[in-house]
């Protein structure tokens, strides 16, 4: 089956669904000499066994550590010889290379996604590297605070666990666990492969079908995911560390990408704390006027995915400013819930969102990711054309309404790590 259309930005996307259940997407990006392809299968963090935390991450890390036909080094040399950047990840992987090497690039990507060998020696080495990574992150106050914030927000939900696992859980993972996981979840059903480059999308789809049509496997079955609890009262946690700054996260559970309030919340985010320069209220107040920080942001839509993300207000500041920063966030959250935003403020945000959308479509890898998002979240390929209208339709009243619905002051969790 093949469907396609052209949009106002001259973006041509075509789609083909294979009998295996794998959806292929091709986006034409004329006038570039490069190519990108991404594989995103129906792999969910929620299926990871609790006692093997880090398994899903380790599978992704080890995909390019050897296949039945090539060693890790041979894979690396093959990718480098076509000027390619080949990467495995939890849901598959990606290749980015000059356009004339697209076939070789996709063959390599297919090889690591479909036929990884998970050699024992390489798996043990990568586990050692992940242990170092965990140690480094445990000493980084921003990561420590973010991880603890996730734990407080998500409770027993899989997103509350650190993606790499812990030193202990990673030590328990064996190569056979990786092979079993790969067999069970790296299957074509409900998965996507998207490519972007200068070639005609129909021809790109033909090539993709020949390569990724060979992906086999039973459709994965997914277990239930625990609910995300709302805290009964605000929580305040500080992890003291010997550092110059303290990193503060304030927030609670957020929304899924499919939430009908997504566009109104996107406008709310930009009024409140997301976006470029110092135009948002939080950046203007905490950085520009009070000079409390270099880095500050607040928003609910950036983390929205298949599972609920978080509403997060973040600041990195000196320890003596911690309370003032939290108070600033809470006041701004109250303000956006209680008072109508100025018409100018809302209009400026809408101008920004509708005008800047195009910049996310310049790179091949972003185009491939966009095509997958459009399908996975049922946005439709015409989303790129409809987006300005969806944003333009948001009113100041709706911004206040969604702020009231989705920002809950009584449930705000405060977590910080760093200097005290």
């Amino acid at each position: 089956m093949s469907r396609g259309h052209s949009n106002g930005l001259d973006l041509r996307i075509e789609e083909r669904v294979l009998d295996s259940g794998l959806t292929l997407l091709a986006v034409q990006n004329p006038n570039v000499a490069t190519f990108a392809c991404a594989v995103s299968l129906d792999v969910r963090a929620g299926d990871e066994p609790r006692d093997k935390a880090g398994l899903v991450n380790l599978v992704g890390e080890c995909l390019d550590e050897g296949t039945s036909g090539k060693s890790a080094l041979e894979l690396a040399e093959a990718a480098e010889s076509i000027g390619g950047a080949l990467e495995g990840n939890q849901r598959g992987g990606s290749i980015h290379c000059p356009a004339e090497h697209r076939k070789a690039g996709m063959e390599l990507l297919f090889e690591i996604v479909s036929d990884p060998a998970f050699p024992a020696r390489e798996v043990e080495r990568v586990k050692g590297e992940i242990r170092v990574e965990i140690r480094i992150e445990n000493e980084d106050p921003r990561t420590v605070a973010r991880r603890r914030f996730s734990k407080e927000v998500y409770g027993r939900h899989p997103l509350g666990r650190p993606p790499q696992g812990t030193t202990e859980s990673v030590a328990r993972i064996r190569p056979r666990d990786l092979r079993q996981w790969h067999r069970a979840f790296f299957a074509p059903a409900n998965g996507y492969v998207a490519a972007a480059g200068p070639e005609d999308p129909g021809r790109m789809l033909d090539l993709m079908s020949r390569i990724f049509g060979r992906l086999k496997g039973e459709a994965p079955s997914h277990g239930p995911i625990p609910a995300i609890p709302w805290p009964s009262r605000p929580r305040d946690v500080h992890v003291p560390m010997k550092r110059e700054q303290v990193h503060v996260f304030v927030g609670h559970r957020g929304i899924r990408r499919t939430d009908p309030d997504y566009y109104a919340l996107s406008v709310m985010d930009h009024v409140l704390g997301t976006g470029p320069g110092f135009t948002s209220r939080c950046a203007r107040r905490l950085r520009d006027e009070q000079g409390l920080c270099y880095s500050v942001a607040a928003g609910i839509t950036p983390s929205a995915g298949e599972e609920p993300g978080t509403f997060t207000a973040y600041i990195g500041t000196s320890p003596e400013h911690r309370e003032a920063a939290i108070a600033g966030f809470l006041e701004e959250i109250d303000r956006i819930r209680e008072t109508l935003a100025e018409p100018d403020e809302v209009e400026a945000v809408k101008d920004y969102l509708t005008g800047s959308f195009v910049f996310g479509l310049e790179r091949n890898i972003n185009l491939a990711a966009y095509a997958i998002r459009a399908r996975r979240f049922d946005l439709g390929f015409d989303h790129v054309r409809r987006y300005p209208d969806l944003v333009r339709a948001v009113t100041a009243e709706q911004v206040r309404e969604v702020a009231r619905r989705h920002l809950v002051p009584s449930a705000m969790i405060r977590v910080s790590a760093g200097a005290s």
Partner: protein, 439 residues
């Protein structure tokens, strides 16, 4: 790779603009690149270039504080800036039907920045927070120490962000003097890439920048003398991971040796088939990550090897591994098959930079500002890489990557430092009684 069609606009006051028409998407990127960086700071004013970059968003004679961001926002675009040792650059990405506002903003910022004292004090706090943020980065002190060791008389010795004491003492008057001395059309390059009307753009540039008076010419700085001794430092850190940075002084950006150093950096440690990755990560499993950076600059720059050690790895063994692989590189050079692979990667990296208008504009501005051949250098970049043969690569490796002129900087975890001291002490006493008295 097809050569870009670049139109050069030269004004009488020394201002140069490069225009590239590109109609992939209805967007335009503009970069105003000043030949002003921490290299141009005098004693007691370290961090001034970067601090001034922050102040350029705090109001000009035409655009009130916050207005530049508000306007950019309103126009659906983005803007930002960066400062390094040689340069300060301001850039915009905007839709093609409204991008010219960026030109008006840049013209106003070139001479009309207000540098309001109250805003200066407020922004100083932000810069000090940025400094504190950098101090919590485990690599920052290591890299700074390597630079301080490599560049002992040249201003590259100082960190771009500056020293806390200098920043605290800076005054608006000192910043104004610096701004007036360094910001002007003769020290700037404008690059515009995107869906533009070139003739109209040329006229706008002439109108807006043609009447601006010049800044002082870039002043000379002390050349870094050839190092006569190897330098070594060991830092105290609170991190549990040991890290190594080895720096070698090198050459200017765009010199022929710079291309050879790029190839050598690839062969040594920029990818998984490189010497250091194969030995230290794959074979010996001593480090979890290794990277190599060739960092050419306006004045001779540096070549850096960075290693992050695995738990229990012997630092001496890691350093020996780095030393032996660097020496082997100088001895053997780069085999033909490896050189082919590296050339393909370099070619691809240039192609990737052409995916967005902004990346393309940055590439042009960087080559125009930092190489003696200007942006035209780009036409010869790939042929130059292709012309490098192994004897030349060996000669360049032997000349620059010599441990007798290197700066070796270690960051050892505290516990490990104590252990190493004990190990050394036990080695000293094992052979007999410790000696007493003279000698």
């Amino acid at each position: 790779m097809k050569p870009l069609e670049v139109e050069t606009v030269d004004l009488d006051n020394g201002f140069r603009a490069l225009l590239v028409e590109r109609r992939t998407l209805p967007v335009v990127a503009s970069v105003l690149w000043y030949r002003v960086g921490s290299r141009d700071e005098r004693s007691g004013e370290t961090g001034l270039s970067h601090f001034l970059e922050h102040m350029m968003f705090k109001g000009t004679d035409r655009f009130a504080k916050g207005e530049i961001d508000a306007l950019t926002n309103r126009m659906g675009g983005s803007n930002n800036a960066f400062t390094d040792c040689d340069s300060t650059a301001y850039y915009f990405s905007l839709a093609a039907d409204r991008w010219e506002t960026a030109l008006e903003i840049e013209a106003s910022r070139m001479k009309g920045c207000l540098l309001d004292p109250a805003e200066f004090e407020s922004e100083k706090k932000v810069v000090l927070e940025e400094l504190a943020m950098g101090e919590d980065d485990p690599w920052r002190p290591l890299y700074q120490e390597a630079e301080a060791q490599l560049f002992q008389v040249h201003p590259y010795h100082h960190p771009v962000i500056g020293y806390r004491q200098d920043l605290e003492r800076l005054t608006p008057d000192r910043m104004r003097a610096y701004y007036e001395r360094n910001y002007g059309p003769n020290r700037a390059i404008l690059v515009v890439v995107g869906a533009i009307d070139r003739e109209r753009t040329r006229h706008r540039i002439e109108d807006l920048f043609g009447c601006i008076g010049q800044a002082e010419q870039r002043g000379p700085v002390l050349d870094e003398p050839e190092p006569r001794v190897a330098r070594r430092s060991s830092l105290h850190t609170d991190y549990s991971v040991a890290r190594l940075c080895v720096g070698f002084p090198t050459c200017r950006m765009g010199e022929r040796d710079d291309y050879a150093l790029d190839v050598l950096a690839n062969a040594l440690g920029m990818n998984k088939s490189s010497r250091l990755y194969k030995r230290l990560v794959l074979r010996d499993e001593l480090v979890s990550d290794v990277s190599v950076i060739n960092e050419p600059r306006f004045d001779p720059g540096g070549f850096f090897v960075l290693c992050e050690l695995r738990e229990g790895a012997d630092p001496d063994e890691v350093e020996r591994g780095v030393r032996e692989e660097v020496e082997a590189l100088a001895e053997e050079g780069v085999p033909a098959a490896d050189a082919r692979r590296i050339r393909e990667q370099i070619r691809a990296s240039f192609l990737f930079q052409d995916e967005t208008a902004l990346d393309q504009a940055m590439k042009l501005a960087r080559f125009e500002a930092l190489t003696s051949g200007g942006h035209r250098t780009l036409e010869n970049v790939l042929p130059t890489y292709a012309s490098l043969r192994n004897p030349e690569l060996k000669r360049v490796a032997a000349r620059y990557l010599d441990f007798r002129r290197a700066a070796v900087v270690w960051a050892h975890p505290r516990a490990e430092k104590a252990e190493r001291r004990a190990k050394r002490a036990s080695r000293r006493t094992r052979g007999g009684k410790p000696r007493r008295g003279k000698g």
